[in-house]
Structure formats: C-alpha cells, structure tokens
C-alpha cells in the first residue's frame, strides 16, 4: 500500500521521518563546525534539495520564512556583540563611545573598541544558528508537520493534542492578524506602529486561542485519545518511562554535543534514555487500537535520504578525528579557513536526496493559497448561463 497520489507511479511522498533525519543530520553537522565555508555549503545543499523536492502545499513555503529569520538572527547577534562589547583582544576596527557602568555591573561593557575577531565570532555564531534554522525550515518544507505527527507513537498521545494545536496556531495567527488589521482600518485606527500593535494583540490572541480550543474539541469528538484495552497503571508507567527517557535523550544529546560538559557522561545518559524510550514505546504500543490509513512505506529511498544526512555528520567527525584543524575557525591567529576534504565530501553526499528521493506528487497542494474551488465545467455553465439545471426538481419547475 504505497502512497501513490501523483500522476506517475514514481511520484510519491517520502516518509516524513526520513526527511527529518536528513535535516537533523545536517543541523548537527552545522552545530559541530565553525568553518564558514562548511556552513555555507550546508545551507546551499539544504536549499538545493528543498528546491528540487518540495511540494506545492502551503507549508512548503516555510523555508523562505526560516531563511529570513536566519538573516535576522545574524544581524541581532552582530549588533549585540558590538553594543555589549566583550573587549576581546585583536585587530581593533573602530571605537565606540563607551558607558561607564556602576560597580555592581562590573564585567558588563557597553561600547568601546570593537575588534575584527569579535565581530567575526559573532557572525559565525549567528551563521551557525541561521543554518540550523534553515535545516529546520527545510524539514518543514519537505514533509508536512501533520504527516510527521502521524508517526508519533501511541504512548505520546496526550502530547499529540498539544502538538497539533501548536502546529495550527502559527498559520491561524497570521490569518487573524490580517483580518484584525483590516478591521482596525475600518474603524479608522492606526494599523501600523506601536499604537497599532497594542490594539491588535488582544483580538489576535483571542481569535487564535478560540480556534485552538475548537481544534482540540474537534479532535476529541472524532475519537482522538480513546482508551484502549490496556489498564490505567500500565499505560501510566509506559508514558512516564517514555517521557523520562526522552528527557534523558535531550540531556545526553547536550552532553555529547557540548564537549566537556556533564563530566563526559553524555553518551551513557543518551544510551540510557534511548533504552527507556524503547521500553516505554514497546509496552505502551503493544495493545494500541489505533490503525494507520495508507501508511507511508519505508523503502530504499528512505534509507538513502536518512543515511545521506548522517553521512555529512560522519564526514565531519572523521575529518576532526583525523586531526584536521580547519573544521573549526581559527581566530588567534586570524586565518583564512581551509576546506577539510572529508567533511566536504560528507556534506556533498547529502545532495543525493535531490535525485534519490521520489518526486512529490504534483496534485497535493493548491496553485495558490486561498484559490477557490476548481469548478466542474458543468457548475460553471450552470452559473453563467443560469441554465435550469438545479439540483432539485422543484427548482426546475420554478425557473423559466
């Protein structure tokens, strides 16, 4: 039962989890490096794959949003660096007038000499964050968040409501803001600036919250979270094992990524977390009554896509293990970064999904958001000619 929704048999949606693993691989690679060339390469690869394989659905446009957000992050990071000057040594570019703060704020500087190194560090910091955002945006563009939610194990059901509502919240808020802004104009009030913002916050939040509640009640009245055969205490134990496991995974991942933290216990904590999760999921999932409609298959393209994302990470790790110094940017002394070959190869492998992943079905999304119905030709004819083809005989009788 594959998910053929397109015109050709080769068109299908890739399993959402594969895209998310691929994007996560790229994001973690970005976290592990400060080499601007590698970061730029990651961003380029991700954007290329998205351009090649995204659908026409509304959520596919989230990449643009995240790109913009990334640029803002970089800008903010640099401005913060310049204003709250850390007084790093190095090549001074310019000197800002500085404030003398009272003694209780010792260690905080505002203004003063700004070094090239400081700005570069801030830029790279921001860039890294921006690339991570782009990876996240790419995952959103390639796989509908709703479809990812369907893969959520049964144990995490309570979380499912929260996630669905949260997913619906952002687009809803955009729609509400537009209508509230229009309404303010109709009332003869400011729609821009601070005054506009103040008057809009309450109606917008009110509207979006209303909608979230409606969504939750709709999920409930359509059977979401029905009690299955398992008894209460088993379910509770399974849920708590999963939640604790997930927390441990988060802490463990932090320990692994931030070298030197948690006294080197990152890996054992991560392993314990994964084990706990597996236990909780297997116990909780055993007697679930939920079924899946046309589940996304996991075939070789899924393996390839997921593996290619991990390849990038592996390439970087290998380069670092072999003692390549150019994985991290060198500030002291300031030097033009080199290109570690292994890391480059790894990142380039992540381009494979642009070819290996099946083309998404063409018909899933609308051509434009808010596009009205594609009308059946008969319906158009009916309205334009006012023909007597009403849907009930009485209409025909009444017409002339």
């Amino acid at each position: 039962m594959s998910r053929h929704r397109g015109t050709g048999p080769s068109q299908r949606s890739l399993h959402p989890l594969a895209w998310w693993i691929w994007a996560a691989g790229m994001a973690v690679t970005a976290i592990k490096t400060t080499n601007p060339l590698l970061l730029a390469m990651i961003a380029a690869v991700v954007i290329f794959v998205v351009a090649a394989r995204r659908t026409a659905a509304p959520w596919s446009r989230s990449l643009t949003f995240f790109l913009r957000l990334g640029l803002i992050v970089i800008a903010i990071r640099i401005v913060v660096e310049i204003v709250f000057n850390q007084r790093l040594p190095g090549h001074v570019l310019f000197v800002l007038p500085h404030l003398t703060l009272p003694h209780w704020a010792a260690g905080v500087y505002i203004g003063g000499p700004v070094a090239l190194e400081a700005i570069l560090e801030a830029f790279l910091d921001g860039l890294r964050l921006a690339v991570i955002l782009v990876c996240f945006g790419a995952a959103n563009s390639l796989a509908s968040p709703y479809r990812l939610l369907r893969c959520l194990p049964a144990v995490l059901y309570e979380a499912g409501v929260a996630v669905t509502v949260a997913l619906a919240f952002a687009p809803e808020i955009v729609i509400t803001i537009a209508s509230v802004r229009e309404a303010r104009r109709l009332r003869g009030r400011a729609t821009r600036g601070l005054a506009g913002l103040r008057g809009m916050a309450i109606p917008v939040l009110e509207g979006a919250l209303d909608r979230s509640l409606q969504l939750a009640s709709s999920m409930d009245s359509r059977g979401y979270g029905r009690r299955d055969g398992t008894n209460r205490s088993t379910r509770r134990r399974a849920t708590s094992a999963t939640v604790i496991g997930l927390l441990a995974v988060v802490v463990g991942v932090y320990g692994v990524l931030a070298v030197g933290s948690l006294f080197g216990l990152g890996l054992p904590i991560l392993a314990a977390g994964i084990a706990l999760c597996a236990l909780g999921l297997s116990v909780g999932g055993k007697r679930t009554t939920r079924t899946r409609y046309r589940p996304d298959p996991w075939r070789w393209p899924e393996w390839v896509v997921a593996a290619s994302g991990l390849c990038a990470l592996a390439g970087l790790a290998a380069a670092e293990a072999l003692g390549s110094t150019s994985v991290q940017f060198s500030f002291y002394p300031l030097a033009v970064p080199g290109l570690p070959v292994l890391a480059c190869v790894g990142i380039l492998v992540a381009l494979v999904p642009a070819i290996a992943a099946p083309a998404p079905p063409a018909t899933v999304g609308p051509k434009a958001l808010g596009e009205p119905a594609t009308l059946e030709p008969s319906a158009v004819a009916k309205a334009v000619t006012f023909g007597a083809a009403g849907s009930r005989p009485t209409v025909v009788e009444g017409g002339r």
């Binding site: 369907r150 051509k367 009444g398």
Partner: protein
C-alpha cells in the same frame, strides 16, 4: 436513538439556565431540524448529544443524555465518536490534518478500523459526497461548500449512527447549500442515519424535515412536533409558509413543489396585477454617483479574483451583490474601502482613491461591516465601544450611542460585545460604521446567523438608510433578504459581472437566486409575501 431525560444546563457563572428540564427522544432514521434564535441554546443542545457539553465547554449539566444506549455521563466525546458525528459551525476550524483523504481517514484511524476497510470506506464516502476529484487537495485550498462536504465526510467515514450538524449551510451560497442538504437527505433515505441539524434559514431546510424542534431560549420548554403543524402557529416562518397562511392553503405546503400544485388559483388572481414594492420606483431614478470602479481587476498571485469591473454606486439605492462562494464579492467590497491596491483599474469613492486615504478620513466616506461583525468591536462594554467610536471618528460624544438607539433600541450598555446576541452585535457594528455618516455603506453577509426578528429589523434599517440617501451595498447569499430590500442586483461569477439590473428581474430570471415566492408564483415576478398581501388587499377577495 437519542434520549434527553430531564436535561438542564447552565454555564459556570450564569444564573439563567440555557436548557431547563428538556425531555426529548429522537428515533432512528429521523431528520430533525432544530430552530431557535442565536443564543437560545441550539448549539448547546447539539453539543450535549456527543458530550462536548459539558466536557469541553464547562458548566453544569443535570439529567441524562443517552445516545445509542450510552450515557454521556460515563462516556466522554471520544468514546462516542463511533456513534455520533458532530460537524461544527465552521468546518475549516475543525480540520485536523492537511489533505482531504487524510481528513476523511482521521476518525477511522482513531477508532482502529482495519486498513483495508478504511480504504473502502474512504472511497465510498468520496463517491457519496462527490469529493473524489478533491482527494489529494490541500484542505486550505477548498471552497466553503467543498470544505463543508469534507467536514461531513470526515465524520461519516466513522459510520456513526447519528449525525449532528450545526448550521451546515450558513456560509454557503444557495447552490452549495442545496448540494449539502441534498447529500444529507440522501444519507437519511439511503443509510437510515439519524440526523439532527440546526438551521437559521428555515426556507432551505424545512422540506427535508421529519420533525421540528423549536428552542425558544432562556430555558423555556422546547416545542417538538410535525413541521406542518408547528408551522401553522409559529411566529417565525419561511416565506412559503407565510404565503400559505395568507392564501389559506390546507394543509400548509412546506416545499415549493407542493405549493405550486395548489397555487394555481392564486396565480390567476394575481395575473392582472403588476407587482411593486413601496419605494421601488425611486431606485430607477438613480441620484448622484457616490462611488465608481473603472476596469477594476484584482489578482492574488495567479488567481484572478475580480476582472475588469465597471460599476457605479448611487445614492438612495440598495444594491445586492450575489454570486457563489469565492466569486469575488468580498474582494470587491475590500477594494471600495481600499484594503489593498488594485492590480489594474481605478476605484473612486467620493472623488478619492480609498487606498491612499488615511483611516480617519476613509470612515467618513465609506463604511464596511465585515462578515464577522465582532471583528470591528474591541472594547469591554457596549458603552465604551460607542465612546471610542466617537473618539476615533472625531464625532460629538454620544453620536454613536444615538445611532445605535436608532438601529436597535435597548442594547444593554454595560454588556461585553461578545455576550450580545448576533443581532445586537450586528446592530452595534452597524452603529459604529454609520456614526460618521458615510454616504457609502457596505455590508458583507449581514444575515449570517441572524434570526427572523433581527432580519426584519435589518430590513427596516436598510430601508431607512436608502431613504436617507445612503448608497447601500450588500454582499449576500440570502435571496430572501435580496427580495425584500434590494433595488438593484449584481451577480458575479469568477470575478466578472454576469448580470446587473433591477433586483426583481435579476433574481426572478435565475433558478438559483430566485426567492421562494417567485418560484411559487412564476412566471409573474412576485418577490415577497408582503407584496402579494398588498396586492390582494388592493383587489379585495
């Protein structure tokens, strides 16, 4: 199938019960229509059937609701999902997934139905509701009527034995509404489903009803009975029933077909009289032009919303803008208040381009009441709303309050706008818009959710506005409102004007937009019961 035993309900803080001591029993395969004013407790009654009241709304429910042998006391909504399917007022707000097919399967996934059975049921439902061409479409891209059908399909796939619908046609154009109601009637006849449907526009739904449930509101006892019998004495009635009463038809016809069969003598009596409405002649002598569009086009991306529109809006005229969902009505209204610049062409409102006008100047020239009138209101009380409106427009304090008093006297000043009835809220929004006395007044779908008395009041107010020399534009699906108040009618289709002329001609020539009286008395162009009554009194028996 559905039993309500001594059910009383009140919301948390409220003193007055919304429902009190309701006894109701609905048997299998019945189509029940629930009628009542907004805020009378219709929605509460419907939601009590699947337990959303009180599980999601809060409040205190006494008595017992039993559906298919299960009491909502021990079964929350999710446990009743296989028995009751509930379709809310706003289908778009109930969608949980993003693609039509997934939405249809959602409830079945939760119920744990075999994948093979799921495939079959999805296909059956796609066919039953005519959705097969939309199966892979994104839900956001559907029109209102399509969304409504998907919402119905999404609960049908769980094969519930009871279907509960809260105003399923209120957002739909006449053709789409017919389509949805026809689908419902088919479900009752073919599958023996029990259907409970709340509806404001009785004229649409009455022919399908097996039983009528009138909810008077404020906890007064329900009236339940045969639609024909209840209609004989009901204070609210669709035009067809009023005409039947006027003509003394026995038994009272509820469908156009039945009425036409016994209307032959009436048609003969009226054949020699030219139908007119008081003040109608005035519309044919248009006064000065208030606003005009010249070759106006608006596109959103690739989509053409309106195309090459040349229109003039005159003083002393009520203009009805009709057309199916998504035909460009709201876009045209938005252009007249300058919400966004046009793609091509010009808009001229009293000599100004509305896009460039400051908001404060704009509201003195043109006022728009949007579809959701509540959007215009932000203050915590009616009184505060009126005084901020005065302040915003730079009016004499008290102007808006006085306008409100003219539009609808007796709106409680201290109440929060959200707690007003639909009719009161519309009156307040209308007062806010009318206070600066703009020559051009636009209303988008003003009768949505309005009960009959509020509609009567609206018709009177619109007539007053016309007499006072305003140019009034209504974008509406409500053909009965058009019949009663419009002088001129314009039909839009896919963004183009396909008909423009005196309302009487335009609506009578269209089977989709013709009001009930016109359908019954065709070929003579009578529009409303009031006209017929006037004519009969003039002629004598």
């Amino acid at each position: 199938m559905i039993e309500l035993r001594d059910v009383s309900f009140r919301y948390g803080e409220s003193e007055i019960p919304t429902l009190s001591h309701v006894e109701l029993s609905i048997s299998e395969g019945e189509l029940c229509v629930v009628v009542g004013q907004t805020g009378s407790g219709k929605s509460t009654l419907l939601k009590a059937i699947n337990g959303l009241v009180p599980y999601f709304t809060g409040g205190h429910l006494a008595g017992e609701v039993i559906v298919a042998g299960r009491s909502t006391r021990d079964h929350p909504p999710r446990e009743l999902a296989d028995v009751v399917g509930l379709v809310g007022q706003n289908p778009a707000a109930s969608f949980v997934t993003d693609v039509v097919e997934d939405e249809l399967a959602y409830a079945m996934e939760n119920l744990g139905i075999e994948p093979a059975a799921m495939r079959r049921r999805v296909e059956d439902t796609l066919d039953l509701l005519g959705l097969h061409e939309l199966r892979a479409r994104s839900l956001l891209s559907l029109s209102g009527g399509q969304q409504q059908r998907v919402a119905i399909g999404a609960v049908l796939t769980a094969s519930p034995r009871v279907l509960v619908l809260d105003e399923p046609t209120s957002a739909l154009d006449p053709a789409a509404a017919e389509e949805v109601l026809a689908a419902l009637a088919r479900l009752v006849h073919d599958l023996g489903l029990t259907v409970v449907v709340a509806e404001h526009r009785l004229e649409r739904v009455l022919p399908f009803a097996d039983r009528l449930i009138i909810v008077p509101g404020d906890g007064a006892p329900l009236q339940v009975g045969d639609p024909g019998e209840l209609m004989e004495h009901s204070p609210v009635a669709p035009p067809i029933v009023e005409l039947g009463r006027l003509a003394g038809w026995e038994p009272l016809p509820l469908s156009v077909r039945d009425a036409r069969r016994i209307a032959a003598p009436l048609r003969e009596r009226l054949a020699t009289i030219e139908p007119t409405r008081p003040g109608e002649g005035a519309a044919l002598r248009p006064g000065s032009v208030v606003a005009a569009t010249h070759r106006l086009s608006v596109s959103y991306g690739e989509l053409r919303a309106i195309w090459d529109i040349d229109l003039r809006f005159c003083r002393g005229e009520v203009l009805a803008l009709m057309g199916r969902n998504g035909s460009g009505k709201s876009t045209l209204l938005g252009q007249l208040v300058g919400l966004r610049p046009p793609t091509a062409g010009t808009v001229d409102v009293a000599g100004h381009d509305p896009v460039g006008l400051g908001a404060r100047k704009l509201i003195k020239l043109v006022g728009l009441v949007p579809q959701d009138a509540g959007l215009l209101l932000y203050s915590a009380t009616v009184g505060a709303e009126c005084s901020t409106a005065d302040h915003d427009a730079g009016l004499e304090p008290g102007t808006t309050a006085a306008t409100l008093d003219r539009v609808l006297p007796g709106v409680p000043v201290g109440r929060h706008p959200r707690d007003l009835s639909e009719g009161q809220r519309l009156a307040l929004a209308l007062a806010v818009v009318l206070a600066p006395a703009p020559p051009l007044v636009l209303l988008d779908e003003p009768t949505r959710g309005l009960d009959y008395p509020s509609k009567d009041r609206l018709v009177a107010v619109l007539g007053d506005l016309r007499d006072a020399g305003h140019s009034v534009v209504l974008a509406t699906h409500d053909v009965e409102l058009v019949a009663r108040v419009a002088d001129r009618a314009i039909v839009l289709a896919d963004g183009e004007v396909v008909a423009d002329g005196p309302a009487r001609q335009v609506v009578c020539h269209s089977p989709v937009f013709a009001p009930q009286v016109a359908k019954i008395l065709a070929p003579e162009p009578w529009l409303t019961v009031a006209e017929v009554r006037g004519a009969l009194e003039g002629v004598g028996p």
